[in-house]
Symmetry: C2
Subunit: 355 residues, 2 copies
Amino acid sequence: MATALDIGGLSAVWLRDNCPCPLCRDPRTGQKLFGITDLPPDAIAAEVREHGSEVEIVWAPDGHRSVYARSWFDAPAEPDPRSEDAKSLWDAAELGAERFEFPWSSYPGDPAPALTAVQRLGLAVLRDVPCVEEQVLAVAGTFGFVRETNYGRLFDVRVEDRPNNLAFTSVAITPHTDNPYRDPVPTVQLLHCLANEAAGGDSGFVDGFRAAALLRDEQPDAYRVLVRTPVPFEFRDAHTELRAHRPIIGADAAGRIREVRFNNRSMGTLRLPADELAEFYAAYRAFAETLNRPESMLTRRLEPGDCVVFDNTRVLHARTAFDGAGRRHLQGCYADLDGLAGTLGVLDRTAGDAA
Amino acid sequence: MATALDIGGLSAVWLRDNCPCPLCRDPRTGQKLFGITDLPPDAIAAEVREHGSEVEIVWAPDGHRSVYARSWFDAPAEPDPRSEDAKSLWDAAELGAERFEFPWSSYPGDPAPALTAVQRLGLAVLRDVPCVEEQVLAVAGTFGFVRETNYGRLFDVRVEDRPNNLAFTSVAITPHTDNPYRDPVPTVQLLHCLANEAAGGDSGFVDGFRAAALLRDEQPDAYRVLVRTPVPFEFRDAHTELRAHRPIIGADAAGRIREVRFNNRSMGTLRLPADELAEFYAAYRAFAETLNRPESMLTRRLEPGDCVVFDNTRVLHARTAFDGAGRRHLQGCYADLDGLAGTLGVLDRTAGDAA
């Protein structure tokens, strides 16, 4: 026999706000039909009755009746899927390829493992994706929506005669997140390798959440400086002028790491008192040194057909310089994590139905 | 005669990090060519010389030479364009229509006034936009990129037989921001009125930044609770399942208001200790009461041809119930503030060239 539910310790307004009845929740959409100011401020549970797996509450002063599933009371809090609590942080040496590489042939029938890797590890490599132009847009479309930017719906990463970004040259690019000068930043990036015949041009990936967590452990003052200092990031070309003021490490109010923005190429000029600048630069250098530790970087040469999908709020990417004579051509696009999480949510539901 | 520049009080690493020479900044892209760890940690200005409007520094220990414009040293900090510091907060009674209404006929030739209104006030109404299906996408394309979501690139706001959202019924919708269950949230919303023959269905807009600032003045404890408490927002239908954990009021580390998310329909279940729930709900009610003050709401009946463009991180929108018998049809889409700011930045540059 179930023990009697003691609701005396619960918040009355919280209970009432979560009433699932069809007057409170639209049965078609699941959306709440009242606002907080529609509830009596002094609502109290006048009667509480348990019927098997249900709990009925009759409210004073208005007589409203709520019926809850008994199990609802004990449901756990859902963690923020974007914070470090929902992630598996990794060190490159420990991250076996079987955890993040997935054959394209099995992806359409079973996308969940690769999408889960993007959500938990921050990246997945789909292998043998057809080497067809614009295929990267189709990959993005399997889990979300392309985020168009000034670089287009799709961008070509190859040597250009008149580059507006160093990405479109053959120089080495150190670990960075993309588009930190954009707010909201694109939260997913895809890079699809169509050709990689150049000498050099190997890719590297770094778990920025892990580096931030290491910095918090080892140099907590530096960590706090990076969390609290908005940095102006900038991009400017003939057709656009973008600027965002965001900290290098974004944390929620409880101090959980939620976002990393790191890009030496596009950091603008901070205007702060000299002592704060000295403090910021020491912290910035400390974080860069943490990111640059050799064990942090997963090195991987992209082969034609590889499509990397990664969390641009967490995983930094890099490439070595390459010989401009050899052909190297990636196609990329941006998308967003909420669509990816939503796709996984629906897949989980379907899996649950099948079970 | 200019006074000698005293660089003794400046941060050496900051000066060096901002060296504009072509070895430090790519002349083609303006991007920085070095990382912070490439700079000597102990760089000091060994020699400082002033030549007219330029200042030359020779650095020890590496002998690097930097030449700065004298004016660069005194440039002011640029405010974060997304925070309250860059906004004009308004009260509906004081906001004359001439500040936010703009004829479509003059918009293509001179979009800056309307876009500036979106940036500063949080909204603009373009009048007499052609009543053509999908025109709203063209309006978004004048300043940025459409953000596609599970609702499509474009969504129709009208009564539907099987709505997945109360927006697509005829019920009243209280002031809210859209898609709080999305992260990143769409930062701009457009609504283009094609028909409004129904009785009722008037629109309302509330400045959420002003309401948050009022709450901070009047009930600072409540304000702080809303800034520090992540709220789970949720949306679920047959094809998607979205969830975001974000506070109702987003502030930067210096306490500047930067984002408001408020939507009674899609607030999920908070799981917190009872005392924190009681505190949260008191704060939530206080903010709702502030938003609901009659003087907060700008009421406007949308006429066919009106296209409202508003900042969905700041301005809440609402509508009264309407008679489902009369035709009411809006077409909407989402876009982002960074694109809008970038377009304004380029327009300012052009204006500067012409001046």
